[in-house]
């Protein structure tokens, strides 16, 4: 693993170049180009806003500008799910390269994480602009943005490395991931405030719900970007234990994912 890490650092420019490639290629030949990065979440926002804000009246729960609450969660969630979905198939889809050229294979899943991260940052900039325009009160904790980004990236990277390596041997992983992420989305407070869970589930079930590290990460995004304690107290929940648990789990997953990747990597070329 140490040797792999050294090689990886040697090839860091490849990660950069592959990321640039992904960014360039994603909206190449499309008329709107980069604007799609914005259009996509805005359309999602519209759908969820109409469904939950207007039809189910989640707004009535005392949340200022429910649409911004939605965006504060949807953007990082999309970043997470998109990078994982793309990363899972990354080794298999680049079979040509893996079979013909030697390079540290971990750059493949990680390049998708980075390119999705790039789009995420663009989207967050737009969200920030909206927050300022509509004079939503910002939280000073927004300065913790880079730290939270690193935390989520660690978690996503660990998961991506693990799944993309296993996917070479069991292609089912790819299909399973799609479905699982959909379920995971609804097991995470993005659309609804977390208070719904505490109110409607028995305490033991709520405790299980809080084992989901993405729930803690999303709650933090809503806290620092949307300023949930001020703008929507019902959506504000923070526990130091939950936070510590999430950080430790993310780091462990990253180590485990990388370890598994390094172990399996040697057999990629013949199996793919």
């Amino acid at each position: 693993m140490k040797k792999n890490l050294k090689k990886f650092i040697e090839y860091r420019e490849l990660l950069y170049n592959l990321t640039i490639k992904e960014v360039k290629v994603r909206y190449k030949n499309s008329f709107l180009g980069f604007l799609w990065s914005m259009v996509n979440p805005l359309m999602l926002l519209l759908v969820y806003y109409v469904a939950f804000g207007v039809i189910f009246r989640l707004r009535a729960e005392g949340m200022v500008r429910y649409e911004f609450y939605l965006l504060a969660g949807i953007l990082p969630w999309n970043f997470f799910s998109l990078s994982v979905i793309q990363a899972v198939g990354s080794v298999v889809n680049n079979a040509d390269l893996v079979k013909k050229v030697y390079f540290p294979r971990e750059v493949l899943p990680l390049s998708y994480l980075c390119s999705s991260g790039f789009h995420f940052l663009l989207q967050e900039l737009v969200l920030l602009a909206f927050l300022l325009i509509f004079r939503v009160r910002l939280s000073p904790w927004i300065l913790a943005f880079p730290l939270l980004l690193v935390l989520q990236a660690c978690f996503a990277a660990g998961l991506s490395l693990l799944l993309s390596a296993v996917n070479v041997f069991f292609r089912d992983v790819q299909h399973f991931t799609d479905i699982f992420l959909l379920a995971w989305f609804w097991m995470t407070p993005v659309v609804y405030p977390v208070s719904f869970i505490f109110e409607s589930l028995p305490p033991w079930a709520a405790r299980i719900y809080l084992l989901n590290p993405m729930a803690h990460i999303m709650l933090l995004w809503q806290r620092i970007v949307y300023n949930s304690p001020v703008n929507g107290p019902k959506a504000a929940y923070f526990s130091p234990v939950g936070f510590t648990y999430t950080v430790v789990l993310s780091l462990l997953l990253l180590i485990l994912g990388y370890w598994a990747f390094c172990r399996l990597e040697g057999r990629f070329a013949e199996f793919i």
Binding site: L14, N17, D96, V101, Y102, F169, R171, A269
Partner: protein
């Protein structure tokens, strides 16, 4: 062709690449069962056979030397190259390298069709391990070498296959590694580009680079290498002086074709007959005769959509002609039990020589071989005329005497 004298002091005794007891084993799967369900169902069944592509090979490639690796198909040449690059890991033994390695295994692997040639140079060079600054330094040379001119700023998807390959070669060769591994990619491009490539390799030799070249062609190997390694069935058969090894290799190939058979045996080709036009077994033909190749097969279970084919090879193992039922647009929905397939060649346009025949049954995509009989049969052709080469072609002379 050699641009320098062998043993002129360029080659040191310092190792650039060292293989110690390297062995590589593949699993040949009877059926490609990659999904979880199939794995669970076939939990206890070992659905594969072990195939040792390399068996405990020891080899030291010295700094500054050009080593060619020759050997018949399936002798482990390409596997060895892949192990050297690190694409695959050996099951046993160790490989140590001193210096940077670049491999020409396939040109343009990793090109993205939507990016321009220039953008692809940066991407591809970084896949080969180059830093951006280093690419900046050599990009002009790459573009010039590729002869792409203004097309370099066009998207690669608009390139012809020749342009594609030229760009790939230019990048790989200009990466300028300490050790260059080449896998028979020289047969690309037009003649003038090929000459350029050979020139470039000779220049790298003069610069003291270490080169490992894998090839079928013993003559090319003999003309540009310092030593030749002859691999056979994963073992070192001979290693040493280029002339000696290539002569021994060619002699062996002439007298004894390297026949073998392999496959999953879901379809078994039991008997192969080479017949004359009247349907009688024959191994002596004259140029222009009719020939029928008849395969008798047996499939224990129903096999969907199989393809049957054959290939004719010369004494050096180069394919002279080959085709199959898919290429001939004959669909075989399935086979079950016994049957025969006949290929009718009304006119054998081959000149003098002994030719070897391979026959095979495989899946439509060619990914799985049911049964492959590699050069197990042969026939001789005698030509009434005195032309030379492989092919009988119609040729007419027109003379215009000076008036």
């Amino acid at each position: 062709m050699s641009g320098r004298e062998i043993g002129a002091g360029v080659i040191s005794r310092e190792p650039a690449l060292r293989l110690e007891g390297v062995a590589k084993c593949f699993r040949l799967y009877h059926d490609v069962s990659r999904s979880l369900k199939e794995r669970v169902i076939n939990w206890r069944k070992r659905g594969y056979e072990l195939f040792w592509a390399l068996k405990d090979v020891d080899l030291t490639v010295y700094r500054g030397e050009t080593l060619s690796v020759i050997g018949p198909n399936g002798s482990g040449k390409s596997t060895m190259l892949r192990l050297m690059t690190g694409i695959m890991k050996p099951n046993r033994g160790s490989i140590t390298t001193h210096g940077t390695i670049a491999a020409l295994l396939e040109l343009g692997a990793g090109f993205h069709p939507d990016l321009t040639g220039r953008e692809n140079i940066y991407l591809n060079a970084s896949i080969l391990g180059l830093k951006r600054k280093e690419v900046d330094r050599i990009i002009d040379e790459i573009i010039e070498f590729s002869e792409l001119g203004p097309f370099i700023d066009n998207q690669v998807k608009n390139y012809s296959s020749g342009m594609y390959v030229r760009l790939g070669f230019s990048i790989a060769i200009n990466v300028n590694p300490d050790i260059l591994l080449i896998d028979e990619v020289l047969a690309v491009g037009d003649a003038s580009f090929q000459t350029k490539c050979i020139d470039r390799i000779l220049r790298m030799q003069r610069e003291g680079k270490t080169i490992v070249l894998v090839t079928h062609n013993a003559d090319i190997a003999a003309s540009i290498s310092d030593r030749i390694l002859w691999l056979e069935k994963g073992e070192v058969k001979m290693l040493g002086d280029p002339r000696e090894v290539s002569d021994a290799y060619l002699r062996a190939m002439r007298t004894r074709p390297e026949g073998s058979e392999f496959g999953t045996r879901e379809i078994v080709i039991g008997k192969v007959d080479i017949l004359d036009g009247a349907g009688n077994p024959e191994i002596r033909f004259s140029t222009g005769d009719a020939m029928v190749i008849r395969l008798r097969y047996r499939a224990e279970r129903r096999v969907e959509d199989p393809v049957f084919g054959f290939g004719i090879y010369d004494h050096m193992g180069l394919m002279v002609y080959g085709t199959n039922t898919r290429l001939l647009k004959v669909d075989i929905p399935y086979v079950e039990g016994e049957g025969t397939v006949e290929f009718h060649l009304p006119k054998l346009n081959l000149l003098d020589g002994r030719y070897y025949l391979s026959v095979a049954a495989h899946t439509r995509d060619g990914q799985v071989n049911y049964h492959w009989l590699d050069k197990l049969f042969f026939f001789d052709v005698e030509s009434p005329g005195r032309e030379s080469g492989y092919l009988a072609m119609d040729c007419r002379v027109v003379l215009h005497a000076p008036s």
